[in-house]
């Protein structure tokens, strides 16, 4: 006999919940404005007028100088062309399979080489630092790229809050493992949960952010809700989504794609047009959003962020440490 469990979310439940949260938000706004004039995240969410859409606007973030000259990739492309194997291996899967995913309530555990283990909820994370909009190029290892306006905070702010000890040489990001909400995990295409990592100095670099939103709205499920890592000078797979655990370690974390194909994917995974992949050309890329007759563009070293991050790899053999 096949026993099917009814989904926890029925479509008619979604709207009342939003109204409920909206009310809660209003109460918090009232409270927050008494305490401080600076905008807190909870007070900055306005629900989209369209009740059918789940989009929540974020306002009050500051614009930054990053990527102001770039042409944004259309929102529909960024939300329907995703590599997110937890929701299926086809790029059109995540936008469909992530509909029942619940990004709240959500907490991240901080552990490993820290003064003491901690937990932080999404709401608190939003308050750690003022939110910024960063328009970044994102280069996928498969030879395509996008330009996405992220909203988030520097990862360094979270790390400072986490208080790692001097033993912390690397940061490991562990994503959610839940094959009920993430149906793609029922197939062992990767060793679940998804694990990624950065060297401490990479994690502390001002370019590295934790994104909570994009296009001025809360992150859609298929793009990594409730928050994801964005490391713009590395290939896209370094950007862990739906993170539940951050662990500080002394040794280099064993990351998912390195385990899946050590000769294809490296721990560093810096965008590098001179280091080829056995399958895809890395010297050029296709910018998503162009038409049928738009040629490929040249891929830049460190995805064009060499000025900001080149010094991190001084003296390192980037062909060996790809």
């Amino acid at each position: 006999m096949l026993i099917t469990k009814k989904s926890d979310v029925i479509p008619s439940d979604i709207t009342p919940k939003e109204i409920f949260e909206n009310r809660r938000t209003l109460i918090k706004v009232a409270g927050a404005s008494l305490v401080s004039a600076t905008g807190l995240f909870t007070g900055l969410i306005n629900h989209a007028a369209n009740a059918a859409s789940n989009k929540q606007k974020i306002s009050g973030f500051t614009k930054t100088k990053y990527g102001l000259d770039e042409k944004l990739t259309p929102y529909d492309d960024v939300t329907t062309y995703n590599n997110y194997y937890e929701f299926g291996t086809s790029k059109s899967d995540p936008s469909i399979e992530s509909r029942l995913f619940k990004p709240s309530p959500w907490t991240i555990s901080i552990e490993g080489a820290v003064k003491k283990n901690k937990q932080i909820g999404v709401e608190e994370l939003f308050k750690l630092a003022p939110l910024e909009e960063r328009i970044y190029r994102m280069r996928c290892v498969e030879g395509w790229s996008m330009v996405i306006p992220w909203v988030g905070l520097p990862l360094s702010k979270l790390i400072q809050w986490a208080e790692p000890t001097s033993n912390a040489k690397y940061v490991e990001f562990i994503s959610l493992s839940d094959d009920r909400m993430m149906p793609g995990q029922r197939i062992q295409v990767l060793d679940w949960p998804y694990v990624e990592g950065l060297r401490m100095d990479e994690a502390m670099n001002p370019l590295t952010i934790m994104a909570l939103g994009m296009y001025g709205e809360v992150l859609p499920n298929q793009n990594g809700a409730p928050f994801r890592l964005v490391v713009p000078w590395k290939y896209g797979f370094k950007g862990s989504k739906a993170i539940v655990k951050i662990r500080f370690t002394e040794t280099m974390p064993k990351t998912s794609w390195v385990k899946a194909g050590p000769n294809e994917y490296g721990f560093y995974a810096n965008v590098n047009p001179t280091v080829d992949h056995p399958r895809w050309t890395q010297s050029s890329e296709r910018r998503i959003g162009g038409g049928l007759f738009t040629p490929r563009i040249k891929t830049q070293m460190f995805n064009g962020y060499a000025e900001q991050v080149g010094h991190l790899y001084a003296g390192m053999d980037l062909i060996k440490n790809f």
Binding site: Y81, A260, P278, R279, T281, S283, R286, G289, L292
Partner: protein
């Protein structure tokens, strides 16, 4: 009279196959016209034409076992058209790659072929289809005689290379290319089984 009827039937079926075989191409034009080819339209066209080339390869290879096991000889009449449609979609596949994807940048294409095994394998498969397409006419069949059959045995190598090309290109989930691989080997197995059929006990269907 009966022979004429049969000829008419085959002609009608051929016309239907011809029209049906153009549907994947019409679909691409339709989706392209309505801007519905997705975020990466060039990749979409590459995948679609490649997949259909593979499907037509399998269809053309299934005519012989269909004829052998059903006893209906006319199946063989459709093989050439299906094979030529395989060549047609393979040409579109290559054209998309060379034109839309790489804008005739021969340097980059040469690098791609030498550096990436799946491109090399796919390109080899395509090159092998050219002599088969050229010699597909009745006149060429007559001219080549016994050598025609030998030459067209290359289709099995093309099949292996095409499936291998697909398998190498996939990043992690190998299900789809393995399905094509299984179909390909079943079609080969049916041929072998037919050759040794007298060793089997008769099966009542």
């Amino acid at each position: 009279m009966l022979a004429n009827n049969n000829k008419l039937l085959i002609l009608n079926i051929k016309s239907i196959i011809f029209i049906l075989s153009l549907i994947p191409l019409c679909r691409l034009f339709y989706l392209g016209w309505y801007d519905a080819l997705g975020a990466n339209p060039i990749e979409f066209i590459e995948r679609s034409t490649g997949t259909w080339a593979l499907v037509f390869l399998m269809l053309s290879l299934s005519m012989t076992p269909f004829r052998q096991w059903s006893g209906i000889n006319s199946f063989i009449q459709y093989r050439r058209m299906l094979g030529l449609f395989m060549f047609f979609y393979a040409c579109l596949h290559i054209l998309t790659y060379v034109w839309l994807d790489h804008w005739f940048d021969l340097n980059e294409i040469a690098n791609d072929i030498t550096m990436h095994p799946y491109i090399l394998v796919g390109f080899t498969a395509f090159l092998l289809t050219i002599p088969l397409a050229i010699t597909s006419s009745k006149a060429m069949m007559k001219r080549l005689g016994g050598r025609w059959k030998l030459l067209h045995q290359f289709v099995y190598l093309i099949g292996i290379l095409a499936v291998f090309h697909f398998l190498l290109l996939v990043k992690k989930d190998h299900t789809e290319p393995l399905v094509y691989g299984a179909i390909f080997f079943s079609l080969i197995a049916l041929r072998i089984a037919y050759r040794f059929r007298r060793y089997f006990k008769p099966v009542v269907l």
